[in-house]
């Protein structure tokens, strides 16, 4: 992949294209290479979700469109594209239509700093982790604007719930990442993965940072408004929450953003705590040279698929939290856990124990 990009770059420079253009073209290709598979994985993530939850509940799941229902996501997309977008009366039309775009843009732009292998990343910026935190915190604006502009009490209640919930869990998430920073010693996502490189999978951060790993993943569930924290949608209480007034592809964009965010959380969890693209069988004799021992995108994808399955597994298993219990979990349980573990980590660093031994 990177060889091809260098080739395109050299070709354009060789043809005498003026300075910023080859860079723009190469970055454009990179963006397409990341976003198209992402949108496809979102489509198949929804299919897979319905299948898995079906199997867990002893059903078959979608099985009518195409072989075993594999064309179901496309049928859904086509249906949504052809439906009318109804803008509610007395709502703010501009903000109403802006909201899904805000959700989508923030969900997609975070992928700019996610490294897919040691060489492939769209933008290797120095403050990558801060960028991730900043842009994931912007995602809530899509929800707030949607809830307010819809001029509907259910949408508004959903937006309020979501705003409070995301702010609460973002703090725990940020503190968990402080622990990752202390262990990784860099804000660059690629450097954080490389800091986990060692003899085996025991050098990955999920062992010294185990409480932070759990807090991060569960906060990720809450941050993406997934079950059991999906009170922002809460169809049993407030119909469908913030997107109750949206139909057609406007709803489809919210859907796309939500699933892109879920895949993003899995990617970040893997990068921060499970060695990203590193192979778990790196140091084992007899496996050298095979693809099993080779680090690369396939390992990142395999680990992400596991966590994506966890998202669905959790959704099919646990009942929805009560709202006050969500707040209690975020503020009174996760926040103290992360602060205590950062303190423990600080002591470990100062005493040079465990992974910080010089």
């Amino acid at each position: 992949m990177s060889a091809l990009l260098t080739y395109v770059d050299e070709l354009l420079v060789g043809l005498g294209v003026p300075a910023p253009l080859p860079y723009v073209v190469v970055t454009g290709i990179k963006i397409v290479v990341v976003l198209l598979p992402l949108i496809l994985s979102v489509a198949y993530f929804t299919y897979w979700e319905r299948k898995i939850i079906g199997w867990i509940q002893h059903r078959l799941g979608p099985n009518r469109v195409g072989w075993n229902g594999v064309l179901q996501p496309f049928a859904d997309v086509i249906k949504m594209l052809f439906k009318e977008i109804v803008v509610p009366a007395n709502s703010n039309r501009f903000l109403f239509l802006l909201a899904p775009l805000v959700s989508l843009v923030t969900a997609f732009s975070v992928w700019a700093v996610v490294p897919f292998s040691e060489t492939f990343v769209i933008a290797e910026i120095d403050a990558g982790l801060l960028y991730v935190l900043a842009l994931t915190s912007l995602g809530v604006y899509g929800v707030i604007i949607a809830g307010w502009a819809s001029n509907s009490k259910y949408a508004f209640l959903g937006a309020m719930r979501s705003a409070a919930q995301i702010v609460a869990y973002e703090i725990a998430m940020g503190f968990a990442l402080v622990g990752v920073l202390m262990a990784g010693g860099s804000l660059k996502l690629g450097d954080i993965v490389l800091a986990q490189q060692g003899t085996s999978l025991l050098s990955w951060f999920f062992i010294p940072l185990f409480p932070l790993f759990l807090v991060y993943f569960i906060s990720g569930l809450a941050e993406t408004n997934r079950a059991p924290f999906d009170v922002a949608e809460g169809e049993s209480e407030i119909v469908a929450g913030f997107h109750v007034e949206y139909g057609g592809i406007a709803f489809g964009l919210f859907f796309l953003a939500e699933y892109a965010n879920m895949i993003l959380i899995t990617a970040l969890t893997v990068l921060f705590f499970l060695g990203g693209w590193l192979s778990p069988f790196a140091g084992i004799a007899g496996l050298e040279g095979t693809w099993l021992a080779q680090s690369g995108f396939h390992w990142l994808a395999a680990k992400m698929v596991f966590f994506m399955f966890c998202f669905l597994w959790v959704r099919a298993t646990f009942p929805r939290y009560r709202y006050d219990q969500i707040m209690r979990l975020g503020w009174k349980v996760f926040l103290p856990i992360t602060i205590i573990w950062i303190f423990v980590e600080g002591v470990l660093v100062a005493l040079e124990v465990g992974p910080w031994a010089v």
């Binding site: 900043a134 915190s137 707030i144």
Partner: protein
Amino acid sequence: MIATLLFYAFAAVLTVAALGVVTSKNPVHAAFFLVLAFFQSALLWLLIDAEFLAIVLVLVYVGAVMVLFLFVVMMLDINVEQLRQGYTRYLPLGVVVAGVVILEIVHVIWYRSQGLPILSVPTSHGPDYSNTKELGAVLYTEHVFAFEIAAVLLLLAIVAAITLTMRKRPGLKVQNIAEQVAVRSADRIRVVKVDAVTDAKD
């Protein structure tokens, strides 16, 4: 060239957004304009290589402060008509205050800056220069006391805010979650065995 064009584009949007904050009739629109203004100033900071400050501005002000701000503003039912009452009565006072403020701004920016050296654009460092690292290196060594004092002040503000809301009202019903979680089925239901009664059929 491109940077200059971007600067004028961002600065124009920033100015429009800032005007929108003070001229919108709807407070929620004003808050959204403020979000836009914060975002644009973050972009301006990015243009002069201050990526840490720019991202932290977005993270703290746009991502957290303005969300809570909107949270409150959206729930308020503000009667604009009531706020407009007494416009002509307060107008002369307002004009005087505005005049004084304008005079002060002119004094500070124009009058006192006569003859001062004009600062050049900060030199751009290479791609390996880490803004965040440089800031941290100074913040935790040279300015450690100022940093600690700021942290203590913030902690004090948090404690003060929490104590203000922690008043015990008589008759207030609260849930004890630990108690709720510790409940076993035997505490709530009693399983009774009842022999089946069958009517003798004749």
